[in-house]
Amino acid sequence: MERHPDITAPHAGPAVAPPGDLAIWFFILAELLAFGVFFAAYAFARARNVELFNEMQQTLDRPAGALNTVLLITASWCVARGVEATSRARSATGARWLAGGILCGGGFLVVKGVEYAAKFGAGINLSTNTFYMFYLSLTFFHFMHVILGMIILIVLWWQTRQGLYGPANMNGIESGAAYWHMVDLVWIVLFPLVYVMR
Protein backbone atom coordinates (compact mmCIF):
# COMPACT_ATOMS: atom_id res chain seq x y z
CA MET A 1 0.00 0.00 0.00
CA GLU A 2 1.26 3.45 -0.90
CA ARG A 3 1.76 5.92 1.91
CA HIS A 4 1.63 9.66 1.52
CA PRO A 5 3.54 11.61 4.13
CA ASP A 6 1.53 14.58 5.27
CA ILE A 7 3.51 17.54 4.00
CA THR A 8 0.57 19.76 3.16
CA ALA A 9 -0.44 20.81 6.67
CA PRO A 10 2.57 22.40 8.40
CA HIS A 11 0.46 24.09 11.06
CA ALA A 12 -1.62 21.07 11.96
CA GLY A 13 0.15 20.56 15.28
CA PRO A 14 3.48 20.98 17.03
CA ALA A 15 6.49 20.78 14.73
CA VAL A 16 8.01 17.30 14.78
CA ALA A 17 11.60 18.49 14.62
CA PRO A 18 13.30 21.55 16.16
CA PRO A 19 14.43 24.44 13.90
CA GLY A 20 17.49 23.73 11.77
CA ASP A 21 19.13 20.47 10.85
CA LEU A 22 18.40 17.47 13.06
CA ALA A 23 22.13 16.62 13.07
CA ILE A 24 23.00 19.89 14.88
CA TRP A 25 20.54 18.98 17.65
CA PHE A 26 22.26 15.65 18.25
CA PHE A 27 25.55 17.55 18.31
CA ILE A 28 24.07 20.05 20.80
CA LEU A 29 22.84 17.21 23.03
CA ALA A 30 26.32 15.63 22.97
CA GLU A 31 27.89 18.97 23.91
CA LEU A 32 25.39 19.50 26.72
CA LEU A 33 26.13 16.02 28.02
CA ALA A 34 29.87 16.80 28.10
CA PHE A 35 29.31 20.12 29.89
CA GLY A 36 26.85 18.45 32.27
CA VAL A 37 29.45 15.88 33.31
CA PHE A 38 31.99 18.70 33.76
CA PHE A 39 29.55 20.73 35.92
CA ALA A 40 28.74 17.72 38.11
CA ALA A 41 32.46 16.92 38.47
CA TYR A 42 33.08 20.52 39.60
CA ALA A 43 30.24 20.40 42.14
CA PHE A 44 31.33 17.05 43.62
CA ALA A 45 35.01 18.09 43.68
CA ARG A 46 33.85 21.18 45.59
CA ALA A 47 32.01 18.96 48.09
CA ARG A 48 35.36 17.38 48.96
CA ASN A 49 37.20 20.75 49.17
CA VAL A 50 34.55 23.21 50.34
CA GLU A 51 36.88 25.60 52.15
CA LEU A 52 39.37 25.77 49.30
CA PHE A 53 36.64 26.33 46.70
CA ASN A 54 34.90 29.02 48.77
CA GLU A 55 38.17 30.83 49.41
CA MET A 56 39.39 30.62 45.82
CA GLN A 57 36.02 31.67 44.40
CA GLN A 58 36.51 35.02 46.16
CA THR A 59 39.57 35.62 43.96
CA LEU A 60 37.50 35.47 40.75
CA ASP A 61 36.45 38.62 38.91
CA ARG A 62 32.68 38.38 39.46
CA PRO A 63 31.80 41.67 37.69
CA ALA A 64 33.68 40.41 34.61
CA GLY A 65 31.72 37.16 34.77
CA ALA A 66 28.43 39.06 35.04
CA LEU A 67 29.40 41.37 32.17
CA ASN A 68 30.18 38.29 30.08
CA THR A 69 26.73 36.86 30.91
CA VAL A 70 25.17 40.10 29.65
CA LEU A 71 27.30 39.96 26.48
CA LEU A 72 26.47 36.31 25.68
CA ILE A 73 22.73 36.69 26.34
CA THR A 74 22.64 39.87 24.26
CA ALA A 75 24.53 38.07 21.48
CA SER A 76 21.92 35.28 21.62
CA TRP A 77 19.11 37.84 21.45
CA CYS A 78 20.76 39.51 18.41
CA VAL A 79 21.11 36.13 16.67
CA ALA A 80 17.46 35.24 17.41
CA ARG A 81 16.36 38.63 16.00
CA GLY A 82 18.58 38.00 12.96
CA VAL A 83 16.97 34.62 12.32
CA GLU A 84 13.50 36.13 12.79
CA ALA A 85 14.19 38.99 10.33
CA THR A 86 15.65 36.58 7.77
CA SER A 87 12.61 34.30 8.06
CA ARG A 88 10.49 37.30 6.99
CA ALA A 89 12.65 37.84 3.88
CA ARG A 90 14.50 40.76 5.47
CA SER A 91 17.98 39.33 5.17
CA ALA A 92 19.78 42.72 5.14
CA THR A 93 18.27 43.44 8.57
CA GLY A 94 19.03 39.86 9.59
CA ALA A 95 22.69 40.28 8.66
CA ARG A 96 22.90 43.46 10.79
CA TRP A 97 21.50 41.61 13.80
CA LEU A 98 24.00 38.80 13.24
CA ALA A 99 26.79 41.40 13.13
CA GLY A 100 25.53 42.66 16.50
CA GLY A 101 25.76 39.10 17.83
CA ILE A 102 29.33 38.80 16.52
CA LEU A 103 30.28 42.07 18.27
CA CYS A 104 28.88 40.87 21.60
CA GLY A 105 30.58 37.48 21.19
CA GLY A 106 33.84 39.30 20.46
CA GLY A 107 33.28 41.37 23.60
CA PHE A 108 32.96 38.14 25.60
CA LEU A 109 36.30 36.88 24.23
CA VAL A 110 38.01 40.19 25.10
CA VAL A 111 36.64 40.25 28.68
CA LYS A 112 37.57 36.59 29.20
CA GLY A 113 41.01 37.23 27.70
CA VAL A 114 41.59 40.10 30.16
CA GLU A 115 40.46 37.81 33.01
CA TYR A 116 42.84 35.03 31.90
CA ALA A 117 45.71 37.54 31.54
CA ALA A 118 45.14 38.75 35.12
CA LYS A 119 45.10 35.17 36.45
CA PHE A 120 48.17 34.05 34.48
CA GLY A 121 49.90 37.32 35.47
CA ALA A 122 49.29 36.41 39.12
CA GLY A 123 51.11 33.12 38.48
CA ILE A 124 47.96 30.99 38.49
CA ASN A 125 47.96 27.88 36.31
CA LEU A 126 46.28 24.45 36.05
CA SER A 127 48.37 23.03 38.88
CA THR A 128 47.77 25.91 41.34
CA ASN A 129 44.99 23.95 43.09
CA THR A 130 41.88 21.86 42.39
CA PHE A 131 39.64 24.93 42.15
CA TYR A 132 41.81 26.64 39.55
CA MET A 133 42.28 23.38 37.66
CA PHE A 134 38.47 23.31 37.29
CA TYR A 135 38.07 27.04 36.72
CA LEU A 136 40.67 27.17 33.97
CA SER A 137 39.73 23.94 32.19
CA LEU A 138 35.96 24.46 32.44
CA THR A 139 36.00 28.09 31.29
CA PHE A 140 38.59 27.36 28.59
CA PHE A 141 36.48 24.45 27.27
CA HIS A 142 33.61 26.93 27.04
CA PHE A 143 35.91 29.61 25.55
CA MET A 144 36.77 27.23 22.68
CA HIS A 145 33.05 26.77 22.05
CA VAL A 146 32.56 30.54 21.90
CA ILE A 147 35.36 30.73 19.31
CA LEU A 148 33.71 27.99 17.21
CA GLY A 149 30.36 29.75 17.62
CA MET A 150 31.93 33.02 16.44
CA ILE A 151 33.30 31.32 13.31
CA ILE A 152 29.82 29.92 12.61
CA LEU A 153 28.22 33.37 13.16
CA ILE A 154 30.72 35.07 10.83
CA VAL A 155 29.95 32.51 8.08
CA LEU A 156 26.18 32.97 8.67
CA TRP A 157 26.56 36.77 8.60
CA TRP A 158 28.42 36.59 5.30
CA GLN A 159 25.91 34.17 3.75
CA THR A 160 22.93 36.17 5.02
CA ARG A 161 24.43 39.37 3.59
CA GLN A 162 24.71 37.57 0.23
CA GLY A 163 21.00 36.80 0.47
CA LEU A 164 21.53 33.05 0.76
CA TYR A 165 18.84 32.64 3.43
CA GLY A 166 15.17 33.51 3.33
CA PRO A 167 11.74 32.11 4.21
CA ALA A 168 12.27 29.14 1.87
CA ASN A 169 15.80 28.38 3.07
CA MET A 170 16.28 28.66 6.83
CA ASN A 171 17.99 25.36 7.59
CA GLY A 172 21.60 26.60 7.68
CA ILE A 173 20.98 29.79 9.64
CA GLU A 174 18.69 28.05 12.14
CA SER A 175 21.27 25.29 12.70
CA GLY A 176 24.12 27.75 13.30
CA ALA A 177 21.94 29.90 15.56
CA ALA A 178 20.93 26.84 17.65
CA TYR A 179 24.62 26.06 18.22
CA TRP A 180 25.27 29.64 19.34
CA HIS A 181 22.33 29.53 21.77
CA MET A 182 23.78 26.31 23.24
CA VAL A 183 27.01 28.21 24.03
CA ASP A 184 24.91 30.87 25.80
CA LEU A 185 22.88 28.23 27.63
CA VAL A 186 26.01 26.56 29.04
CA TRP A 187 27.32 29.90 30.35
CA ILE A 188 23.95 30.53 32.05
CA VAL A 189 24.71 27.50 34.27
CA LEU A 190 28.48 28.05 34.45
CA PHE A 191 28.43 31.64 35.75
CA PRO A 192 26.34 31.07 38.92
CA LEU A 193 27.99 27.69 39.55
CA VAL A 194 31.63 28.76 39.36
CA TYR A 195 31.52 32.51 40.17
CA VAL A 196 28.67 32.92 42.65
CA MET A 197 27.47 29.74 44.39
CA ARG A 198 29.16 29.12 47.73
Binding site: P14, A15, V16, A17, P18, P19, W25, L29, L32, L33, G36, F39, A40, A43, F44, R46, A47, V50, R62, P63, A66, T69, V70, I73, T74, S76, W77, V79, A80, R81, V83, E84, S87, E174, A177, A178, H181, M182, D184, L185, I188, V189, F191, P192, L193, Y195, V196, M197, R198
Partner: protein
Protein backbone atom coordinates in the same frame (compact mmCIF):
# COMPACT_ATOMS: atom_id res chain seq x y z
CA UNK B 1 7.30 30.93 15.13
CA UNK B 2 9.21 33.72 16.76
CA UNK B 3 8.08 37.30 16.96
CA UNK B 4 10.17 40.32 17.80
CA UNK B 5 8.13 41.45 20.80
CA UNK B 6 8.48 38.05 22.47
CA UNK B 7 12.23 37.96 21.76
CA UNK B 8 12.70 41.46 23.22
CA UNK B 9 10.66 40.56 26.30
CA UNK B 10 12.75 37.43 26.86
CA UNK B 11 15.96 39.49 26.56
CA UNK B 12 14.71 41.92 29.24
CA UNK B 13 13.76 39.05 31.58
CA UNK B 14 17.18 37.44 31.02
CA UNK B 15 18.93 40.73 31.83
CA UNK B 16 16.93 41.17 35.05
CA UNK B 17 17.63 37.56 36.01
CA UNK B 18 21.36 38.09 35.41
CA UNK B 19 21.21 41.16 37.66
CA UNK B 20 19.53 39.03 40.35
CA UNK B 21 22.29 36.38 40.08
CA UNK B 22 24.99 39.05 40.35
CA UNK B 23 23.20 40.72 43.29
CA UNK B 24 23.08 37.42 45.20
CA UNK B 25 26.87 37.23 44.76
CA UNK B 26 27.47 40.83 45.81
CA UNK B 27 24.98 41.53 48.59
CA UNK B 28 23.27 38.18 49.17
CA UNK B 29 24.75 37.60 52.60
CA UNK B 30 23.80 41.09 53.80
CA UNK B 31 20.16 40.69 52.77
CA UNK B 32 19.86 37.19 54.20
CA UNK B 33 20.19 35.21 50.97
CA UNK B 34 23.09 32.91 51.79
CA UNK B 35 23.95 29.23 52.03
CA UNK B 36 21.32 26.75 50.84
CA UNK B 37 18.80 29.55 50.14
CA UNK B 38 21.29 31.31 47.84
CA UNK B 39 22.12 28.00 46.15
CA UNK B 40 18.44 27.25 45.55
CA UNK B 41 17.75 30.80 44.31
CA UNK B 42 20.72 30.70 41.92
CA UNK B 43 19.67 27.32 40.51
CA UNK B 44 16.05 28.45 40.15
CA UNK B 45 17.16 31.60 38.31
CA UNK B 46 19.37 29.62 35.92
CA UNK B 47 16.56 27.12 35.25
CA UNK B 48 14.21 30.01 34.38
CA UNK B 49 16.87 31.59 32.15
CA UNK B 50 17.86 28.34 30.46
CA UNK B 51 14.24 27.44 29.80
CA UNK B 52 13.59 30.80 28.11
CA UNK B 53 16.71 30.43 25.93
CA UNK B 54 15.54 26.95 24.89
CA UNK B 55 11.91 27.86 24.24
CA UNK B 56 12.26 31.28 22.60
CA UNK B 57 15.82 31.76 21.32
CA UNK B 58 16.28 28.13 20.23
CA UNK B 59 12.69 28.05 19.01
CA UNK B 60 11.57 24.92 20.86
CA UNK B 61 8.30 26.41 22.16
CA UNK B 62 6.15 25.02 19.35
CA UNK B 63 8.11 21.81 18.89
CA UNK B 64 7.08 18.32 19.98
CA UNK B 65 7.56 17.68 23.70
CA UNK B 66 10.29 15.12 23.03
CA UNK B 67 12.85 17.83 22.20
CA UNK B 68 11.79 20.25 24.91
CA UNK B 69 11.80 17.34 27.35
CA UNK B 70 15.36 16.33 26.41
CA UNK B 71 16.68 19.88 26.71
CA UNK B 72 14.83 20.94 29.85
CA UNK B 73 15.51 17.48 31.28
CA UNK B 74 19.24 18.18 30.87
CA UNK B 75 18.86 21.48 32.71
CA UNK B 76 16.91 19.89 35.58
CA UNK B 77 19.29 16.93 35.84
CA UNK B 78 22.39 19.14 35.97
CA UNK B 79 20.71 21.42 38.54
CA UNK B 80 19.72 18.42 40.67
CA UNK B 81 23.29 17.05 40.61
CA UNK B 82 24.67 20.46 41.64
CA UNK B 83 22.09 20.70 44.44
CA UNK B 84 22.99 17.20 45.71
CA UNK B 85 26.71 18.03 45.66
CA UNK B 86 26.06 21.27 47.60
CA UNK B 87 23.89 19.45 50.08
CA UNK B 88 26.69 16.92 50.66
CA UNK B 89 29.17 19.80 51.09
CA UNK B 90 26.93 21.60 53.59
CA UNK B 91 26.47 18.60 55.89
Amino acid sequence: MMNTRQLNFVWVVLMLATLATFAIGEIGERIGIAGPLAMAALLAISIVKGRLVMLDFMGLRGVKFFWRGLMIGWLLLVSALIAIAYWIAAR
